[in-house]
């Protein structure tokens, strides 16, 4: 049974989770736990908090598996938005989480090349977005990734980068808007 479930596509696996197939839930957690925990710990910077938040993510996913809509996002994206939203709520309550500046460089696209296989998978998943991201000026990449993957506001990014808030805002804005071309469904 487990072996069979392992072969399911992400969508089919989530459908099995929605049907309360107990083994499917285990396979689902195993398949996505590194991503979910990875985002949680990136945003929160605290292993214990991230562990808890990742568990809550899977609980939410299990409860709301029925609301997943493949037209809007992949299963991985859907799951990670749950993690992101939970982390933003947690950060509202518990602000001023110290941020490790080295983490920024780890988030940059080319740094994943330390593991070529992983980098290939990521490039594939991100698709055109990864290409466009790599094409942005590095300071815009940093601002966009700090805002999205690390959940930082413009004023926090200004602190981290040692730049004025207005500059941080402009970098986020310019970067995000340039990336829109990568997700446009049809070329204009």
């Amino acid at each position: 049974m487990m072996r069979h479930l392992d072969r399911l596509s992400d969508d089919a696996l989530l459908a099995a989770v929605a049907l309360e197939e107990r083994d499917a839930v285990a396979v689902f957690v195993r398949r996505f736990q590194r991503r979910v925990y990875g985002l949680a710990v990136t945003m929160l910077g605290d292993a214990a908090l991230a562990d808890d938040l990742a568990q809550v993510t899977f609980e939410r996913a299990w409860r709301h598996a029925g609301t997943y809509d493949a037209r809007r996002a992949s299963v991985a994206t859907w799951l990670l938005t749950i993690t992101r939203n939970l982390a933003i709520d947690a950060m509202r309550v518990r602000r001023a989480i110290p941020f490790d500046p080295d983490l920024v460089s780890q988030l940059l696209p080319h740094s994943s090349a330390v593991d070529p296989q992983q980098a290939a998978i990521d490039a594939d998943q991100l698709g055109r977005l990864g290409v466009e991201l790599a094409g942005l000026p590095v300071e815009q990449q940093r601002a966009v990734l700090l805002a999205t993957l690390a959940g930082r506001t413009a004023s926090e990014i200004a602190d981290i980068e040692g730049i004025p808030v207005g500059t941080a805002k402009t970098r986020i804005r310019t970067g995000l808007r340039r990336l829109r071309i990568a997700v446009a469904e049809v070329a204009p």
Partner: protein, 214 residues
């Protein structure tokens, strides 16, 4: 910030990035969303920024969680974290999107493609007219999947029954028409019901619609 009252396109544009990143507080957030609901241009901007922000999450580093994570996560699900108790049966809904479009083929196709279907049939209303379709599906677990494309008004509670080859009817689950007017409903079934010859939708003893599997 003047969050009260109506927001214009210029103000929306200033805050669109923070809105897409989930970083805005009320009441500004609601004011901006209200504007987007009425303004196709700003809605399209928000959609595309939101898609970028969401999809970039895929670039997050993958990190092995602390030892025992899987066990902790699973036991958390087992412990009292039950789904809403309203229904004792398992089901999932795909709410119809705005505009009355029922279900993009992508969803069902992505999920069911390649999975053996036991049977498919058209659902016909008792008063005549096609209502939707029903499928008996064996994988990954046996379930019946009902797609309602042309909802009919009527009592809220809809019981789904399957007929065994010996003619007996078995209720497999129910849904509330008030929840979702149209969309997809599914429930896990006993494997022996994959041989069902017919499906009917019953409410308060009245048969609202039927489907006969070939």
């Amino acid at each position: 910030m003047s969050a009260q009252g109506s927001v214009g396109c210029e103000q929306f544009d200033v805050h669109a990035d923070e809105l897409a990143l989930g970083q805005l507080d009320e009441p500004l957030r609601s004011a901006l969303l209200a504007h987007a609901a009425d303004c196709p241009h700003c809605r399209s901007l928000l959609d595309s920024l939101g898609t970028v922000a969401d999809r970039l999450l895929l670039a997050a580093p993958r990190v092995e969680p602390p030892a025992g994570f899987e066990t902790r996560a699973l036991s958390r699900l087992d412990m009292g974290a039950a789904r809403p108790p309203r229904r004792s049966i398992s089901l999932w809904w795909v709410a119809a999107v705005a505009g009355g479009m029922v279900l993009a083929g992508a969803f069902v196709a992505a999920r069911l493609d390649g999975e053996p279907k036991a049977a498919t049939a058209t659902i016909v209303a008792a008063a005549g007219g096609e209502v939707g379709s029903v499928q008996l599906i064996a994988e990954p677990t046996p379930h019946v999947l009902v797609t309602i494309t042309a909802p009919r008004p009527g009592p809220a509670t809809r019981n789904c029954e399957l007929q065994r080859p010996d003619g007996t009817w078995v209720q497999v689950g129910w849904w509330d028409a008030a929840d979702v007017a149209s969309g997809v409903w599914a429930v896990g079934i006993d494997p022996t019901l994959l041989d069902a010859t017919a499906m009917r939708i019953v409410s308060d003893g009245d048969v609202l619609a039927t489907a006969a599997f070939d």
